[in-house]
Symmetry: C2
Amino acid sequence: MSLASDRAKPRAAEKPTLYKRIRLDIETRILTGEWPPGHRIPFEHQLMARYRCSRMTVNKALSELAQADLIERRRRAGSFVRRPQHMSAVLKIADIRAEITALGRSYGYQLIDCRRRTATSADRARLGVSTAGKVIAIACRHSADDVPFAVEDRLIDLSTVPEAATADFSREPPGSWLLHHVPWTEAEHTISAVVADDRTAKALDIAIGAPCLVIDRYTWRSARTVTAVRLHYPGETHRLVARFKGG
Amino acid sequence: MSLASDRAKPRAAEKPTLYKRIRLDIETRILTGEWPPGHRIPFEHQLMARYRCSRMTVNKALSELAQADLIERRRRAGSFVRRPQHMSAVLKIADIRAEITALGRSYGYQLIDCRRRTATSADRARLGVSTAGKVIAIACRHSADDVPFAVEDRLIDLSTVPEAATADFSREPPGSWLLHHVPWTEAEHTISAVVADDRTAKALDIAIGAPCLVIDRYTWRSARTVTAVRLHYPGETHRLVARFKGG
DNA sequence: CACGATTATATGTCTAGACATATAAGTCAA
DNA sequence: TTGACTTATATGTCTAGACATATAATCGTG
């Protein structure tokens, strides 16, 4: 989650290379609707002929479009415009400590509660696991320049991350510890809005009923759940910025 | 904006190809902190030697890492791990009509207000332009199965999109019209939380003081502002889901 | 020492091939 | 008709080169 930036206008377009031109051409046709969802894009050898270039060049353009989820590539069948014409944006959600330090503010951390237990059924549901192993449940607060920044409520699956049992979360925030000790392969964020309840309001030093941005994050390492975390941010002072570059 | 999905566990890892293995190796070293921010990654020719492959293969791995903002590549200098170790997620924000239809619900649209005017200073500030051209200001509401889904407050810059002057926004929502008529090259979303004011509460049929998720979106076409839009969603029933695949 | 010109080098892009592999489509038999 | 087998084909990955280009580092000069 980055701070609310002053919106800067995008830089002027530079002279594009061939593969970028191919990519932009196709992208434009898709985004204008000239090639609707489901439309089959010309085959690579057709694009080779049209642009007088080698296959690797069109392949690079198409690969990037596929990576951006604008098209879907199927062997033997061809490449197709993907279904809903949605915009996709790269959303950066930083480690909170790194985020605050990057802002040039002093980072503060308070551990509210940390306990190790056998996973309850609620824990298992939250982590999306069926077996009842050990978990660590953590509640803590992050602050910037001694002003509450976010409250965190986290569950760590010890069967995936046994090393976490020996970590000292009174000193280091669990998010930072995990980021430096556990490689993750997949993550999911869910963003919603709520009004602060009694406990959250007190921890964030805001009024009960004030808006809060809530981020739920689930992290996996090769099909095993690593951690589930819920963060409450004061909604009027904090914002998520996501920017997409289409050039 | 996609609906809250039932979190599915990621699929098991498949046998990776060489460039994917290189990418994963480097990614793991970065995410575990073995290669901290600022660390210089081995040069392409060193990786060629280590993995016994051609330069194009390591180049493909490094290019994808650069595209994912995990590393920064500088000519003559090398490739470096980027500074804050943040996670990046692909956030999909669909056209609202497409989103609702994709859910299998019936889409409803009500134009609340639509007026064409010379840009006021507030309009210019919002669009980030300095010259005072014509704009269209639109207020409208989207509903799913006749339940209010989101309210929209939009400004379109007619000097960038003159065709919009002839569009009929009483029939078609402006977001869909723009998506099909104007190619965009860059966009920015800002997500925040507020509590519903009188007008928003009435339009969304929720209580005053209920939480709302707010999305501000700015769209550009090659350095020219296309549109600025603010969407209010009922915060407790709607959520944004962003998922990142790191494999 | 400061500053401009030169050079070395790592990345950026591209080529013209190659073989691998998934799969749509066609073929044939039960 | 249906299922199993075969085949054609588009993409996936890779090679061993090439030239272009930005720039860090070096060298010279005032």
